[in-house]
């Protein structure tokens, strides 16, 4: 994995910390220490041009933070990000379409903005023709360009943010839960469109979704995160056929399954640990059915000799991979 001939994005030892201390005065009075939260804690991955890498993992594990680091919305606290593409053609679809659409702008202007930034001297008629086309592409009508965001339902707003991202003619698209507010039939249209754009124009996607059936359909490679780290990274088919990390195995078991619903499903045991004071050693050890002594003191790494750097787990190193 050292040779990355065609990587468009390489991320090494990436870190992002947030200061979540109590206010200065409270700290003084209550003698509380400063507190740092490690949202992203030593993350490595690369994405090949024209491919899709998906980030999955529990809420709060750092997926959106990675997305924001990659797009430059947050500066990293450590490590580095190398982007071998055109920064101007890096676009993002935000997790929260409510917060990311300017409520005072008409939808047409919102969608036109990245296009105007990219090519400031595009004639107005050409811009509006492109906006109309984009609105149709995401299943809205050209007349919708005259309305304001609040006149749309949640899923319609998400389609607006997709149209806006596409307006910037991206070569690299960071998609943070791009279809989470869409019903499954519109979702199918958007996902088919994204795949078509990838095939026709060689787009690269960093794709975040909690819906593992969507991820399975879209991703070439899946990285599973836990508490700010990548604990497993594998090509999609391998990950589903042979999950190596105990957390991945439990995650796959928790997927709501339409084809075989388990109505008495119990959520994964144990409390989600705090990223402010993560457990020692392997941060999954308090919830891991395979944990042993070493896991509490030493932090497992992804190593070349263990499944080709696909997993960070001591049990997996010893060939134990089944939580049942």
């Amino acid at each position: 994995m050292n040779i990355r001939p065609n990587a468009i994005l390489e991320v090494d030892a990436l870190e992002r910390r947030f200061d979540v201390s109590a206010p200065w005065l409270n700290r003084l009075i209550e003698r509380k220490p400063r507190r740092t939260l490690r949202a992203v804690d030593g993350v490595d991955f690369a994405i090949q041009r024209g491919q899709t890498l998906a980030l999955v993992g529990e809420s709060g594990c750092g997926k959106s933070t990675i997305a924001k680091l990659v797009t430059g919305l947050h500066p990293p606290s450590g490590g580095n990000i190398r982007f071998h593409g055109d920064r101007d053609r890096l676009q993002m679809i935000f997790q929260d379409p409510f917060a990311s659409l300017n409520p005072r702008w008409r939808v047409g202007r919102i969608i036109a903005e990245p296009l105007r930034t990219l090519r400031p001297d595009t004639p107005t008629e050409q811009v509006s023709a492109r906006v109309d086309e984009l609105l149709r592409t995401v299943g809205l009508a050209p007349a919708d360009g005259l309305k304001f965001p609040h006149e749309f339902s949640g899923g319609q707003r998400q389609r607006i943010s997709i149209a806006r991202a596409l307006a910037g003619e991206p070569e690299f698209l960071v998609c943070d839960e791009p279809t989470s507010a869409l019903d499954v039939s519109v979702q199918a249209q958007v996902l088919n469109l994204m795949k078509k754009l990838q095939k026709d124009m060689g787009l690269t996607y960093l794709f975040i979704s909690h819906d593992l059936s969507v991820v399975r359909h879209m991703a070439d490679v899946i990285a599973v995160m836990y508490l700010g780290r990548i604990v497993e990274i594998q090509p999609t088919a391998d990950l589903f056929a042979n999950p190596l990390h105990p957390y991945t195995q439990l995650l796959l078991e928790t997927i709501p399954d339409l084809e075989a619903p388990k109505r008495d499903r119990s959520p994964m045991g144990g409390e989600v640990p705090s990223p402010v004071s993560p457990p020692s050693g392997c941060s999954f050890h308090p919830r891991c059915p395979l944990a042993f002594d070493r896991c509490k003191v030493e932090r497992p790494q992804r190593r070349p000799e263990v499944h080709d750097r696909r997993v960070a787990c001591f049990a997996a190193e010893q060939g134990k991979t089944d939580v049942q």
Binding site: D96, S153, S185, P256, P261
Partner: protein, 324 residues
């Protein structure tokens, strides 16, 4: 019928606009019993949120209830004034929205917001309310409650913020919870926690839940009955098993067909051709007729409705697979 908590009869929601009246919800009737979870699914923009907003008395002008009645445990609530409705919201009906930021004030610590809501609806004193707030935060799976209770909303991940909102909705132990895509932004394990929590509330406290979601897996594992909406109307209502496995309405079948599978690989997802008509261009007869492969002459003439049993499909398609 004494255990009916929510009874909606012939609800109609309109938006008067310059170009005429838009009907966002068109003659919807549904009931939810004590301890029952009704799932609501359907095309983005079909009117699910507007139905929920009408029940909560939160329709924003110019939107208005133009016809129909809403009863909560026998009390009529659709004609109450704002003050009366405000006291019902929070106390008797809990609301959980897709966008947690609509329910949280960014300027206040989450703990203070919980304490304030608890004190508004109970007679607990400040320190008891704070203890109750911590319990609720634990109940919804927030790690390290002591550390996080004094954080601001922006310091939480999207999923954690949503869990805080759920804690807010539970403060007063309401008899009905309207949950509009509560798990849309959440990963599968938190999703499993939240749905388990909703199911437990139903079982133990007899809470009735209206659960709007696009995730059919969640519906299959959580809801007792499902209502499918299309273009402001009900397309189909039935038990989960009937609707998911033996859909009667062609729209429902299309919806089920477009879900990415966890088992099968497909190059392209199945789509329903076309898109939902704009509210100002709903065709005469069945609103689904431009996209339906079974449409016959009657479908272009008469609007199909679900019969007075409130179960079945709003479709002229007979059991022989032909339009009568």
């Amino acid at each position: 019928m004494s255990d009916v908590v929510l009874d909606v009869q012939n609800l109609r929601v309109e938006f008067p606009t310059r170009k005429g009246i838009l009907t966002a919800v068109d003659d919807i009737s549904l009931q939810i019993r004590q301890g029952e979870i009704l799932g609501m699914v359907g095309e983005s923009g079909a009117g699910k949120s507007m139905t929920g907003m009408s029940i909560l008395g939160l329709l924003e002008p110019p939107g208005r209830i133009a016809a129909g009645t809403i009863h909560l445990s026998g009390d009529r609530i659709d004609d109450l004034d704002d003050t009366a409705m405000q006291s019902i919201r929070g106390r008797r009906i809990g609301a959980i929205f897709q966008d947690p930021l609509t329910s949280l004030n960014p300027l206040f610590r989450v703990g203070d917001q919980l304490v304030e809501t608890i004190r508004l609806h109970t007679d607990l004193d400040k320190s008891a309310a704070r203890e109750r707030a911590k319990d609720l935060m634990r109940e919804v799976g927030i790690p390290a409650v002591e550390e996080r209770i004094d954080n601001y909303p922006h310091q939480f991940s999207g999923g954690m913020r949503q869990r805080i909102v759920i804690a807010l909705a539970l403060c007063a132990e309401p008899e009905l919870i309207v949950a509009d895509e509560p798990t849309t932004a959440l990963d599968v394990s938190i999703q499993a926690q939240i749905t388990a929590l909703l199911k437990r509330l139903c079982r133990e406290r007899g809470t009735a839940v209206m659960l709007v979601t696009h995730d059919m897996g969640v519906i299959a594992e959580t809801a007792d009955r499902v209502a499918v909406m299309y273009a402001g109307r009900l397309a189909e209502v039935g038990t989960v098993d009937d609707v998911v496995r033996r859909p009667k309405h062609p729209y429902t079948s299309g919806l089920m067909g477009s879900i990415p599978s966890l088992r099968k690989d497909v190059a392209e997802l199945q789509m329903i051709p076309g898109s939902m008509p704009r509210l100002n261009a709903i065709p005469p007869g069945c609103a689904f007729n431009p996209r339906c492969g079974h449409a016959g002459p009657r479908c272009h003439r008469d609007i199909p409705r679900i019969d007075s049993t409130h179960t079945g499909a709003a479709c002229w398609l007979g059991t022989k697979g032909e339009v009568a």
